[in-house]
Amino acid sequence: MVTTNLPEVKPGLIEELLPRVSKPARYTGGEWNEIRKDRDAVDFTVALAFPDIYDIGMSNFGLRILYHVLNQRPDIAAERVFAPWVDMEAEMRRAGVPLVSLETRTPLREFDVVGFSLSYELTFTNVLNMLDMAGIPVLSTERSDSDPIVLAGGHCAFNPEPMADFIDAFVIGEGEEVVIEIVDALKDLQGQGRELKLRRLAGIPGVYVPSLYSVSYNDDGTIAAVSGVSGGPPPKVSKRVLADVDAAPYPETLIVPWVQTPHDRVALEIMRGCTRGCRFCQAGIITRPVRQKDRRLLMRQAQELLACTGYDEVSLLSLSSADYDEIAALVRELIDKHSDDRVGISLPSLRVDADCVALVAEIERVRKSGLTFAPEAGTQRLRDVINKNVTEDDLLAAIAAAIDHGWRRVKLYFMIGLPGETDEDVLGIPELVHKVPRVAREKRKPLSVNVSVSSFVPKAHTPFQWRPQDTTAEMERKISILQSGLKGRNIQLSWHSPTGSLLEAVLARGDRRVGRVILTAWLNGCKFDGWDELHDWSKWLAAFDANGVDPAFYANRRRSYDEVLPWDHIESGVSEHFLMVQDRLADAAKPIGDCRDGVCLNCGVDELLPDEHSCAARCADVH
């Protein structure tokens, strides 16, 4: 059995460990607005698990929605659990304390369901580690009827295969509605065997039970077929999507974390989906269609959440908040209503244009932070390849506006290794960046520029899902081009670890054989792989070797259109045909417009919604 040696459960000892760990407030629970229920008075318990530390997990919006949706039901208790940081883990293992929930300090293995939120591939080993710390077998096949059902959802569930050995059932798409259907089905079957429960779950739309499917391979290592067991599950699992975001359950209260988190403010989700159509962007595809929340409803929710938390900032959350139709009116109304209470408004995602800068200038009383823009690529040709509809003029106009409005610091995001990139495109980054301080010099204002560079990671369900990633040697070569090209007193360059990007690429587009590598890497001690101080590529390399798996097969190989992709049986609602057309347009460096500006591009997602909520119906409202 695959577990590390965990002594018998001794709960209630957390307190004794706290004096010896950093930031002990991560582990106490008891925050303002925490929901703590009497476990004897509920019929069903869910542990909402986030495979990273408290500070990061408490900033996750999906977790907060599910916490609310589940706890709204009097018969269900949902409690939280996060990955203990390494110092706390060492103390817990030494003292034989299992992983427990924050609310009632109940060991995880006493819950009916443990549900993980998978928003980042480099948290996968933490899932295994948390299961192990909880005394739950990490392999799905080794769990018994007395173990919890282990679920996972979030963006990474759109290619569930690498985690298929460890997760009993995946939730594909938006969780608010399906999570209740899952709980009701399991409640119905309490006391019954696991297999029956999993078969029942597989019948719920949007739920994928990997053990009910088998994968066969071709001689060249590609997938021959993914087939469901007999009498079993649907051949394809389609994502869940809310038809009416205004009617969707929404947190009426938010837990106020004990410690300051990266997003220490009220997060108000104003819109789901994005129609910009950047060809590398997974979120932009899998969260389609665009659905905007009603402005009056948002005003009410902002009011409620500010009052119950005491936060002094509301962040308008979405993939592209400036694209919310009534953004200016919403912002103005929020300011009018809350500025007397010293509440600030912020827009986390900024469009590269001067109007958008002017809007942010209006709402930020204090220029406390820099402005961030994402041109993504250094030349117009490459921006056309990725369909990032931003020009150099847009960027420089936005920079000029930022300087005029008093900002003295900007951050620019770029990617290297995008499809079809040449050295000329890489050199285009410093060329473009150097024009930025020039704008400031002309205005006789100081400006510091932070340039953040990441390596392109091809993701499932995007037009670039067939594309190869650069090798790490190539990434390093391009980074050194940038290092020598980006000189200047006020220019700072930072970049992501190439091996981290490679690992992300393997985990993002891997198949079930990658699961063995994840298991070995975790057994070798890998965890918190996204944290530079703990990222250990040599251990991963050993794990790939030990399992005879070549990372390049997953990361650096151009896949053909007729290859069966590991995630082909998971449907985002966007057709493969649309993705192929976009991929070919990329080869021709042809951008397309935003479908909200006019013509429907027939991505296919509309078929997921009933007619009255279709994109067509919404477009008709607007135009």
């Binding site: 582990y27 008891g30 303002w32 004990w258 410690v259 300051q260």
Partner: protein, 218 residues
């Protein structure tokens, strides 16, 4: 100058889960409770206005207290009793205000504090804990100087912890658990920590610290 301004001194507890809050997180917790309570707190001037809130000496992380001090400035007068009630309704478990009183503007922000009185619970492994403790405390107090090593901004420092200990006594011994009372001065730059005193005593007898509680300032 706002003629309606009023200053209120608060005494509050820090117990339960809240005792694991760092000083910065505690400040944040109180600021947010004040906002939830809609207390008419005054804000500083300038580009980034902050609530006018000041705090007494921070507690060691993990220590409990029944006597923490804070002072806040209000824009408009409020009845201290009502302020106490509505703040307590918005404070998480473990932080409760036990006293709120209006103080004159002319007073210093916080009353002069000479030192803290701590109750420290320890586990003694000696055969006769009361006797062994008596002797160990006597030895500690008999020294003019007791040097402890302390990591300060990643640098190991040697500091004298004896001078800051104004009194040290046994309150009770119950089997192998003892409660000590120590009065520690806040004068000087290097303030002695209760844990350092226990650490020093543990050099001459087998004791282990269990908990620290600040009972009052003096």
């Amino acid at each position: 100058m706002n003629t309606h301004a009023q200053r209120v001194a608060l005494t509050y507890t820090k117990t339960g889960a809240a005792r694991w809050l760092s000083h910065l997180d505690l400040i944040r917790t109180l600021e947010m409770a004040i906002r939830r309570a809609k207390a008419p707190i005054a804000y500083s001037q300038g580009f980034n206005p902050r609530p006018r809130l000041s705090f007494g000496p921070p507690l060691p992380l993990g220590a409990t207290s029944s006597a923490e001090l804070a002072a806040l400035k209000l824009d408009s007068p409020a009845d201290p009793r009502q302020l106490l009630d509505c703040l307590n309704a918005q404070l998480p478990a473990g932080i409760q205000i036990t006293d709120a009183r209006v103080v004159p503007e002319s007073d210093p922000t916080l009353p002069a504090i000479r030192g803290s009185s701590y109750l420290v619970r320890v586990l003694c492994r000696a055969a006769d804990p009361a006797h062994a403790l008596q002797k160990a405390l006597g030895d500690f107090l008999a020294h003019n100087e007791v040097i402890a090593e302390r990591i300060d901004k990643r640098v190991m420092k040697r500091v004298d912890i004896r001078a800051g200990v104004e009194s040290l006594e046994i309150v009770e011994v119950n089997e192998n658990i003892a409660v000590l009372r120590m009065r520690i001065s806040h004068a000087g730059r290097q303030i002695t920590r209760p844990s350092e005193v226990v650490q020093a005593i543990s050099r001459s007898m087998a004791i282990e610290m269990l908990s620290i509680h600040r009972e009052f300032f003096y």
